[in-house]
């Protein structure tokens, strides 16, 4: 791994790589943690006209560096917002089509981009009952999705135990056939690579490796076959100004340690 990449933490790498995927003028639904931090970073770098929505009902808040809100439902999320609406109304913006991108973290993802945040083990007799979907299911049903998460074998599984937030379901036309005719998985950003999905099959694919990462590393950290095709190149390493901007936003390294 070249020096530039090793000089930042895995979380910082996730933030920078994710931020690059966001475009000026987009309206995005951001979860707290890495997604919010990455969205705020994008605003500071190349997307000043990016609008952030929170599930609690906040439209276009002003994020103060060092004071990233810890949840999406509390008054800290509303600071200098443009508008506050009810939770139902803000989620309906997804359904109405005003939102470009849903951006969240993930606990467990499978080959077709389905996310699980409900159960480890069988739903009727789980080893762990997780907190559940929150807005995740609605966001993943209705928006183009970016997911940021560390790449680990236990997180990247052949088939999630439970489809909390739908990706391409069982692949092919299964998502569309289920009635989800819009949105869908767009990118998964990990500490190893930038991942996308094959249009026809809905299967996860490697779009680029982060600097210094080998195909074998990716496969070793993935619970299903995830080959790196011959044409796959490398992402640009985080630039000094990207990391500097990020560190100004999270000076206490709450999210980027």
């Amino acid at each position: 791994m070249p020096t530039e990449a090793r000089a930042c933490t895995a979380s910082e790498l996730l933030c920078v790589m994710s931020a690059r995927l966001l475009e000026n003028g987009q309206v995005i639904f951001a979860g707290v943690g890495i997604p919010l931090l990455a969205a705020t970073l994008a605003q500071r770098l190349h997307a000043p006209g990016l609008t952030i929505l929170f599930e609690g009902g906040t439209i276009g808040p002003h994020i103060v560096p060092g004071q990233l809100p810890p949840t999406t439902n509390e008054q800290r999320c509303t600071r200098r917002a443009n508008m506050l609406v009810s939770t139902t109304e803000v989620l309906l913006l997804l359904q109405r089509g005003y939102v470009d991108v849903g951006f969240m973290g993930g606990a467990q993802i499978d080959r077709y981009g389905n996310l699980n945040s409900s159960f480890i083990g069988p739903a009727d007799d789980p080893q762990v009952r997780l907190p559940g979907t929150g807005g995740g299911n609605d966001i993943a049903s209705l928006a183009k999705m970016i997911v940021a998460m560390p790449q680990e074998k236990r997180r990247f599984v052949e088939r999630v135990d439970f489809v909390t937030s739908p990706g391409f379901l069982r692949g092919g036309a299964s998502r569309r056939d289920a009635g989800l005719i819009s949105g869908g998985m767009y990118k998964v950003v990990t500490d190893l690579a930038l991942l996308g999905f094959e249009e026809e099959t809905g299967r996860m694919k490697v779009e680029a490796l982060h600097p210094g990462v080998t195909p074998a590393q990716v496969q070793a950290n993935t619970g299903f076959e995830l080959p790196v095709g011959p044409g796959v190149g490398f992402t640009e390493p985080p630039a000094a100004e990207e990391l500097a901007a990020l560190r100004r936003l999270d000076p206490d390294r709450v999210y980027t340690a």
Partner: protein, 317 residues
């Protein structure tokens, strides 16, 4: 499942909807909640939680309540641990992201002593809204195809008769009782809410009875000076209770932020031995104090003032 329309109307028409004072104590308001009721809670996660009323209901020994809320935090643990509820319907259930997965929720649900019925966030909002609109369902475009939907019985799919598109229909939810905490209301129950509304207005309009708790009671004259700020009408309200710091240790927009040290203390208490911790918490803060004021005194003046300073800072711009 949706209530038949005539039954819903009969229940509504039998309520005393006249303009009348309905101020009472937390203890008196408990009579509007019966064992076995479906109780919907306003607010979300640690915001505008109707904690004082939940506190009173747990003390009153209510049981077999089905509880619903957009997102459930520590109040869900305490409803399970006290035996007040064995069934919570929500989209997300844990203290809050920073505190991780609730071990109390895990203990009760993994051992099948209680149910966490999971719906998507929007579907819960639309269920309350259908209830508020007086229709038996609303159509929506999310949740289809997921295992969240697959585990739920009360759903239907349909092909839209206008466009042919596949839609999911979610049934109206008309709670027996709604508990809503607001910044201010008048003695009749005209309620004004600042900041985030969550699903409170739909919950209140959908419910068959509403208990309002409020930071302060203001005059009807004050309400009438800004009627476009009223979010819940008096005729939908059965009880008005003045409960200052009625969300503590959670927050109330513009008034106080969460009491984070108290939240940390609770998280720590329930981390190692979740149920013993929750029981200790209930004994100390729920069954111990003689009044809500005594509860607040136990919580402590200093953290309350600190939370107030932070809460009011939202208006400091």
């Amino acid at each position: 499942m949706s209530q038949p329309y005539l039954e819903l109307r009969r229940r509504t028409q039998s309520r005393d909807r006249s303009l009348r004072e309905k101020v009472m104590s937390l203890e008196e308001a408990c009579r509007f909640v019966r064992d076995g009721d479906h109780v919907a809670l306003g607010g979300s996660t640690a915001s505008r939680t109707p904690m004082a009323m939940i506190w009173a209901l747990i003390r009153a020994g209510k049981k077999d309540l089905t509880v619903s809320r957009s997102i459930v935090s520590t109040e869900g643990d305490l409803l399970f641990a006290s035996g007040a509820s064995r069934h919570i319907l929500t989209s997300w259930f844990s203290q809050g992201i920073v505190w991780g997965v609730s071990r109390v929720m895990r203990g009760f649900t993994e051992s099948k002593r209680a149910v966490f019925e999971e719906w998507s966030h929007l579907s819960i909002g639309l269920r309350y809204r259908a209830g508020a609109m007086g229709v038996p369902f609303l159509p929506m475009r999310s949740m289809m195809g997921s295992d969240v939907a697959a585990r739920l019985k009360d759903l239907r799919e349909m092909d839209c008769p206008f466009t042919g598109e596949k839609l999911l229909l979610v049934p109206a939810l008309n709670p027996d009782v709604a508990l809503i905490h607001v910044q201010r209301c008048d003695p009749y129950g005209n309620a004004q809410i600042d900041g985030l509304l969550f699903m409170d207005v739909d919950i209140a309009m959908a419910a068959n009875r509403v208990i309002l708790t409020t930071e302060r009671i203001v005059s009807n004259d004050q309400i009438r000076r800004a009627p476009d700020q009223t979010k819940i009408p008096f005729f939908a309200v059965e009880a008005v209770v003045e409960a200052p710091y009625g969300c503590a240790p959670h927050e109330c927009f513009g008034a106080y932020e969460p009491l984070f040290p108290h939240m940390d203390y609770y998280a720590e208490l329930t981390r190692k031995n979740p149920e013993a911790g929750a029981k200790e918490y209930l004994d100390r803060f729920y069954y111990g104090p003689k009044s809500w004021t005594e509860y607040l005194n136990l919580v402590g003046l200093e953290p309350l003032l600190d939370a107030t300073r932070r809460g009011r800072s939202i208006y400091a711009d």
